[in-house]
């Protein structure tokens, strides 16, 4: 089994608002292993991005704070770490790329400057010329043509896909142990999406880092992840390795997500299937129901789901490493 680099334990992230405190992330657990990819799937507002920001130590405080739980990186707690210690890890050992390649780069600095900045910060022993050389190498690594020229260009001179490659170059230039990718391909064209995912997989093999891939796109998960956690209203409702999850989804919500992907599979194509949708809306974090948060949208709802037996907790389901938080799991 691969080496565990990051461990998230019972993480609770709370935000103070005008209408009281809300738990955007409520008791999340997962591990990240070297060379492996964890997918975190969920709709917007399910707490995926907040989880990522919590790991980076970038929860804006106020209004947000880590109210409970631990984040252990190589056994050390990131939650209890001082701000200056955390800065040595951020961008160096744990790096992140964001959803918005068009706006995530600073428009008034050259891309070379923006890559060199992070190298200078975490590898101060490198001379200026070595830094530049390394920045060029990074651009070449992420597949940007004629990197020695591109390095002097500004973000607005690059396409969205190219900018996301630059973001990846920035994130990887200190060879991090963990890369968090928050919807890295959502804003890009489909063909570019595939290229970027391919690139990430390739670089993972070369550098051996663990990846946390945050997405709402199950197609992306199927292609790139080793294990998957499905989030709903700030909690993980199901987690498993990718094959188990796709072949035997146990939570009705996971099943619902899968049914809402259009399928072009010819073997199942004899009868024309209608695309399924999940009825109803995600409940507001301000008034979550008792019991299961998914009860109002679930076809298998029973009294237990409505709170008569408390909230559902993540319990082992059939199969190795398969967990589900449901009173009436499927199959």
């Amino acid at each position: 089994m691969a080496e565990k680099v990051l461990e998230v334990k019972d993480l609770v992230v709370e935000f103070r608002t005008d209408r009281g405190a809300v738990k955007a992330v409520n008791g999340v657990n997962f591990d990240v292993f070297k060379g492996k990819t964890v997918g975190i799937v969920g709709e917007s507002g399910s707490g995926k991005s907040v989880t990522a920001l919590a790991i980076m130590g970038l929860i804006p405080n106020p209004p947000g704070r880590i109210a409970n739980g631990q984040i252990l990186f190589e056994g050390k707690s990131l939650v209890n770490m001082s701000a200056s210690e955390m800065r040595k890890i951020r961008g160096n050992k744990i790096a992140m790329i964001f959803q918005e390649p068009m706006t995530s780069l600073n428009p008034v600095f050259t891309i070379g400057n923006q890559i060199e900045e992070v190298i200078e910060l975490h590898q101060p022993h490198l001379s200026r010329s070595l830094r530049t050389a390394k920045a060029v190498d990074m651009l070449r690594l992420v597949g940007i043509p004629s990197p020695d020229k591109r390095i002097n260009e500004y973000p607005h001179q690059l396409s969205g896909g190219m900018r996301q490659r630059v973001m990846i170059a920035i994130a990887l230039s200190c060879e991090p142990d963990v890369l968090i990718a928050d919807e890295p391909t959502t804003a890009l064209d489909v063909t570019i999406q595939a290229q970027i995912l391919e690139l990430m997989k390739k670089l993972q093999k070369e550098l051996g880092m663990g990846i946390i891939l945050i997405t709402h796109d199950l197609g992306v998960v199927a292609e790139t992840c080793d294990t998957v956690a499905v989030m709903y209203c700030g909690q993980i409702v199901e987690s498993a390795d990718v094959n188990t999850l796709f072949n035997h989804p146990a939570h009705p919500y996971t099943k619902g997500l899968m049914d809402s992907i259009p399928s072009f599979d010819s073997t199942s194509g004899s009868k024309k299937e209608r695309l399924q949708t999940i009825e109803g809306m995600v409940p507001s974090l301000f008034d979550l129901p008792n019991g299961c948060n998914f009860q109002d949208r679930c076809s298998k709802v029973t009294d237990a789901c409505r709170g008569s037996q408390g909230d559902p907790i993540l319990k082992p389901s059939k199969g190795e490493g398969h967990y589900v938080a449901c009173f009436n799991p499927l199959n």
């Binding site: 980076m56 970038l58 106020p62 200056s84 800065r87 040595k88 890890i89 951020r90 961008g91 160096n92 790096a95 992140m96 964001f98 918005e100 706006t103 995530s104 780069l105 600073n106 428009p107 008034v108 600095f109 900045e117 992070v118 910060l121 975490h122 500004y154 607005h156 973001m167 920035i170 994130a171």
Partner: protein
């Protein structure tokens, strides 16, 4: 397209605006304004005297020619003579510019330094107590009538406490210094609220951009994030706000100059109003507009230097 070509094209665009400014001034001073004969010749002027005066002032020319005369002054700065002092207006402006700049120059420098530093400070500590304190102070500062600040300040600090000169002026450096300190301080009080709040908004606008999150995710310190990433991006609106103040420096300060008896252009304008001295007011209006337009061009040119996104077209 190179920078010079851009500047040339930008200057070309100035022409219609300048012609428009002259049109407004012409309409105001030549069409709407009352006949100056009454002011200049008194109640008992004969028709002949009035006709002579109109001829002298070029008012018997067709309107279009009068308009062209206005346009001409905008380029030559040949504003003619003051009706009350009979002096050459351009000479008056040259004399008055010194005392005005002796106040507005240092005021411009200090007020902007103070406002930008305060804005950076509160943007850095946004949402914290000091941010709220400065914000309240700025809004309160903006709400005090400036005339009251000048009146009270002069009365209290110069008259009552005797810390500063009550009024007067001496030409030449450093003789003027004791006379300008109090007006400068009072105008810093008057302007700091609006400036600080403007710069704070500009800086905070940037502080919530995605690239700032990227900068933090690199592990940069908050200071570096603020001073490198945020400040460089806020520079564009900040620079605009600073540069656009420059042409009005020459206008002087209307209140302060007349209260502190400083013979600057602000005081000159006030005198001109009190004496119905049309040519002087017209001259000040034209001059300030020309300055404003030219500095507008300068701002645009600086944009292209500061912001790599600006393409020269």
């Amino acid at each position: 397209m190179n920078l010079y070509a851009y500047i040339f094209r930008r200057l070309l665009y100035v022409i219609p605006v300048l012609l428009g400014v002259c049109l407004i001034i012409f309409v105001l001073f030549n069409l709407v304004a009352p006949d100056p004969a009454y002011t200049l010749l008194g109640k008992h002027a004969t028709l002949k005297q009035i006709a002579e005066l109109h001829h002298e002032l070029g008012m018997d020319k067709p309107y279009f020619m009068q308009y062209l005369d206005t346009v001409k002054t905008a380029f030559t700065f040949d504003f003619g003579y003051s009706w009350s002092s009979k002096q050459n207006i351009w000479e008056m402006i040259k004399t008055g510019a010194g005392p005005s700049l002796a106040i507005t120059g240092p005021l411009f420098v200090f007020s902007n330094i103070i406002a930008i530093s305060l804005a950076l400070l509160v943007a850095f500590y946004r949402g914290k107590l000091i941010d709220k304190f400065v914000l309240i102070l700025s809004i309160a500062g903006m709400s005090i009538p400036s005339l009251a600040v000048v009146l009270f300040g002069q009365y209290f600090f110069a008259y009552k406490l005797g810390w500063f000169e009550i009024s007067g002026y001496e030409f030449g450096f450093p003789n003027f210094i004791p006379y300008v300190i109090l007006p400068i301080i009072l105008y810093i009080v008057i302007s700091f609220g609006a400036d600080t709040r403007f710069y704070r908004t500009v800086i905070l606008d940037e502080a919530y951009q995605d690239y700032v999150r990227t900068a933090r995710s690199k592990g940069l310190s908050e200071l570096k994030v603020m001073f490198k990433h945020v400040l460089k991006n806020s520079m564009i609106p900040i620079l605009t706000n600073i540069i656009i103040q420059i042409p009005s420096l020459i206008l002087g300060l209307l209140f302060a100059e007349s209260f502190f008896s400083i013979p600057g252009l602000g005081a000159m304008t006030i005198n001109a109003i009190n004496n119905s001295d049309f040519p002087v007011i017209k001259a000040m209006t034209i001059m300030s507009a020309v300055g404003f337009i030219l500095f507008g061009v300068l701002t645009d040119v600086l944009y292209t230097v500061v912001d790599p996104r600006m393409k020269l077209n």
